[in-house]
Symmetry: C2
Subunit: 115 residues, 2 copies
């Protein structure tokens, strides 16, 4: 068993091209022996956003705190604490903190190969 | 994309043998087209618990709300909001709500075949 509190996990600035004001933690990682999936946590500052991009694997999200939006080809969809999102492989998407109450914090689970 | 708020998801009493005061929701399910993993949410009432059991797949947990404990062969480990747990395949375990502030609510992600 691996048990960790979010505040104990190292937080680094995400250096993905197209990301602004995004910080990353990996509370459940391949380094912890996870067999298939990893749990990452992204903290997005006010006005920050992830890249507008797609990739061949899915995202499973849970909004821990804050407000924002997920943008897809269909438009912008509001996100709030308690929401869950499944983004399928190949869907172009972007997460945005559109709020004035900051930050937005969310779980973003992915196959461990892509953590 | 599939987007849902937790309160929109049907909640049923978990009828696993050995479970007491446990309710289950599946905000990200194989019915939503998840490729590999499902996100379930368990709500455990005061004094409630999941079975003391093991199985051939892992759990990835996040404590959304409340306090309790996860019991393993090593003993009882305190859980609180913001904690993450990786329970490996074959590890015997039980989640307990040991608090007086109820309920304890947690994500329990598993391979979709076992949702």
């Amino acid at each position: 068993m691996h048990l960790v509190a979010l505040e104990q996990v190292r937080k680094i600035k995400a250096n993905m091209e197209g990301a602004e004001g995004v910080y990353k933690q990996i509370p459940i990682s391949k380094a912890d022996g996870t067999p298939v999936f990893s749990f990452r946590v992204f903290t997005i500052e006010c006005g920050g956003h992830t890249p507008w991009h797609s990739h061949p694997f899915e995202h499973l999200n849970y909004i821990i705190e804050g407000n924002g939006a997920v943008v897809t080809e269909d438009g912008e969809h509001e996100l709030k604490k308690g929401d869950f999102v499944l983004m399928l492989p190949g869907e172009t998407h972007q997460y945005r903190n559109t709020s004035v109450s900051c930050p937005m914090v969310m779980i973003c689970a992915v196959p461990k190969e892509y953590e």
